[in-house]
Amino acid sequence: MSDSHEPQASESGPAPLHGLLAEYTTTGDILRASKKVRDAGFSRWDTFTPFPVHGIDRAMGIRMTILPWIVLGAGLTGLGTAILLQWWTNAYDYPWLISGKPLWSIPANVPIMFELTVLIGGVTAFIAMLVLNNLPMPAHPLDQVKRFARATDDRFFLLIEAADPKFDADATRALLDSTRPHAIESILEDRKTSDKLPTGIIYALVIATVASAVPFALAAKARYTKSRSTRIHLIQDMDAQPKYKAQRENPVFADGRSTRVPDPETVAVGELHEDDHFYRGTQNGAFARTFPPTFRVDETAMLRGEQRFGIYCTPCHGFGAEGNGMVAKRAEELAQGTWTPPSNLTDQRIRDMPVGEIFNTITHGIRNMPAYGPQIPTSDRWAIILYLRALERSHAAKIADLAPAERTGL
């Protein structure tokens, strides 16, 4: 049945025997043969099959690999890395306070713990498989045999190495013969091809590894040294703009400022504001006691004033203008000691105050009250004062002030 080939002697004398190779055509044959070889006590032998043959582990007596334990260790490493990474970066080195939640709380950190466990475990499973299997394996004596190419196609091979202590050229061949193989072939050591990686590749790998560390080394150096030159920005993101910003020094002008002041003799179109009464609330240098004639006192102005007062003044002074707005209340609650309470605008002092002075207060602010001139248009400021006057009156209102029809409704 066997059509064995005699080893071919090479020019430089015969190479030593590597082992004996038997070929089988079915999984049943290789399983039976494996058991025989196993029972004969060989240790340095292997089978080669195009796919994992069911039951061959037991037939060959292969012991369970330690790979799962390696993966377990790697998975736990991934888990530990994720815990440390998240704790160190978010709770310790740079405490990230998010909506007042605790800096370190496991549930929000679980997803990344899981992902890193899987990532490191999975990649390790692959690498450990390669390392334990001695892969990559560039050359093998079996590569010299033409028939062996079918090991990845449709044939099943069994190799007993000559290095096995039990190996005996004749007896081993007889043993293999008894397993009724399709063919038996002697395999010689391969003297021509090396099973080492070519030195060129090794050097290239070493150089690539070293070179890949260079950018990191440069980054680390830049991080821990000081330099006077500006940092290199490949993509500018408009962070360097050839213009002068407000309040910056500017060598172009004699006064060295980039912000220019308007010429004292000029006024912008429509900005003359010569009506002192309307624009400044004064008449002949004193605060006006009347509303300016250009401001129409009517129901529209009153409603406008009510609305604007609600927007701009109530946060501090309150809806009733008594100085009890939300901001004031909150500030009192915090009791930080630095708070000046907003005035009660229904006080007699404010009632007696000329409207021009209130106008001035709104426009420029007073002591702790900020200026609202830039935010509230001039006529709206007058409308607010109009409404404020009405509010003040309502505070001291008597029943006789009401129209007869309304009195009955109370």
């Binding site: 079915t26 043959v53 079918r150």
Partner: protein, 469 residues
């Protein structure tokens, strides 16, 4: 040099004097023909054309800024995130087939797992592009990685967007490792059949010197099993994490606990839709009908019915919870989805995802490749609309009517969406041309003749043969 041929070289019966050899030949010859048939070139040219549109539109977006998309307040997520979720979802079927069905010992998976895995990887690549360009400054995504930077601050690990970075990159890595590892024995087959120096060298390098040693197979199988066991929860986690991007926000229509399982079911549904869409032409064209049989299409179509019912259930449940919660914003959101300004997209989604797949209840439909292909396409359209509905209806109708709006995509939006298919199909066609399209070793392992007729091992009952060779 052989001329490009008009006749398909893959229709003839595979050669070999035994089943294993025929399987090898059937799969290997696809990558071995010197010149693939004209149709492959035409398909490849189209794919490259669409890919160039993709690259062009991305270049334009990067050069001018993302304002060239319709993406703007209030629909700040719009197409890019719709496309991201769509593609990442597609990927899930591949891992499901290769990992979960492996753990459940579903031997029919061997016919389709390899190219489903390839599909996963290419889909994840397409998905990865979108967040990268959506951030507007694609040179800054390293802000999201925990590496020391000039701002001296770390990423915020309690944000679902940060979880996404880890989930998606882990998923991509593990999928590639799983895919590559599965191909090592098949690369070895290619190497051993190679007739030219370069083929032998290239496939030899990627096969890493695999020779099929049983001692190596033992560790290989262990590693494969462990990878499957790790990939199974991983695939469930990835789309759950993607759904957290929505579910942990406060927006009505997003802030729901049903999202993780609902997203995972949808992902598997959409992914299987894509698998059948690719499988039908691939088996036809590459002469793989003996390996990818009608039976396999039928099983996948059954999975489609099941997952279609699952997503249908989720759609219903969302409505129920909106009503049951008594939350008027939530209730409004769902009424608005079905009858509001985007009602057309909602009903497109319902008909593609819930109604059409029900045709698969008929055996005549689910065993018909053409019907399978068409329904698969509908499912892909429907699943895209699902993400569109979720993102656009909720964003444009949130709590404050003053900030309501309507999202209108621009030409560039459509170019990036359509163009991403160019990337996908270019990669897929290259895969068909140069890599083992079917896991030969696995198919052989489940072939009846692989089950030894051993005296002390009665022949196992393997049911129907996974392949018809």
């Amino acid at each position: 040099m052989a001329a490009i041929s008009d006749v398909n070289p893959f229709v003839s019966a595979p050669v070999g004097d035994n089943a294993f050899a025929r399987i090898t030949d059937n799969v290997s010859r696809i990558a071995e023909v010197e010149r693939p048939p004209r149709a492959w070139y035409i398909a490849f040219a189209c794919a490259l054309g669409i890919l160039s549109i993709f690259l062009g539109s991305i270049g334009w977006v990067v050069w001018t800024g993302i304002g060239v998309w319709g993406t703007t307040m209030p629909a700040a997520w719009a197409f890019p995130i719709v496309n991201f979720v769509f593609w990442i979802g597609i990927g899930h079927a591949g891992t499901l087939i290769s990992a979960i069905l492996f753990l459940f010992r579903q031997t029919w998976r061997t016919a389709i797992n390899r190219f489903a895995e390839a599909m996963t990887i290419f889909a994840v690549m397409c998905a990865g592009v979108f967040p990268g360009i959506h951030i507007g400054r694609p040179w800054l995504p390293y802000y999201m990685l925990p590496i020391p930077n000039q701002m001296d601050m770390w990423p915020q690990f309690r944000s679902p967007l940060e979880w996404d970075i880890f989930a998606v990159s882990t998923y991509a890595t593990i999928s590639i490792v799983f895919w590559y590892m599965g191909m090592i024995p098949d690369f070895a087959t290619f190497r051993d059949r190679a007739t030219t120096f370069w083929r032998r060298l290239c496939y030899g390098v990627v096969a890493m010197g695999w020779r099929g040693s049983s001692r190596q197979w033992h560790r290989y199988e262990r590693a494969y099993l462990i990878l499957a066991a790790l990939a199974t929860p991983l695939v469930l986690s990835v789309h759950s994490v993607v759904s957290f991007d929505f579910a942990t926000s406060q927006l009505p229509g997003w802030h729901t606990t049903i999202f993780p399982p609902y997203f995972v079911a949808g992902a598997i549904f959409g992914g299987f839709g894509m698998v059948v869409m690719l499988a039908v032409p691939a088996r036809q064209f590459f002469g793989l009908k003996r390996i990818i049989q009608i039976r396999h299409l039928e099983v996948m179509n059954k999975v489609l019915i099941a997952t279609s019912l699952l997503v249908g259930y989720s759609y219903m449940m969302e409505f129920f919870v909106a009503w049951y919660s008594g939350n008027k914003y939530e209730a409004f959101t769902f009424v608005n989805r079905a009858f509001g300004q985007y009602a057309w997209s909602y009903w497109a989604m319902i008909s593609c995802n819930v109604l059409f797949p029900q045709l698969h209840w008929f055996k005549a439909v689910r065993t018909n490749p053409i019907a399978t292909l068409i329904i698969g396409m509908f499912i892909n359209v429907g699943m895209w609309f699902e993400r569109f509905v979720i993102i656009c209806t909720s964003l444009t109708r949130d709590f404050l009517p003053s900030s309501w709006g309507y999202f209108i995509p621009t030409k560039i939006d459509f170019m990036t969406l359509g163009g991403s298919f160019g990337l996908f199909f270019t990669l897929f066609l290259l895969f068909c041309r140069y890599l083992p399209m079917v896991a030969m070793a696995e198919v052989k392992a489940f072939h009846p003749s692989a089950h030894a007729h051993e005296p002390d091992h009665p022949v196992e009952h393997t049911g129907q043969a996974p392949v018809g060779i």
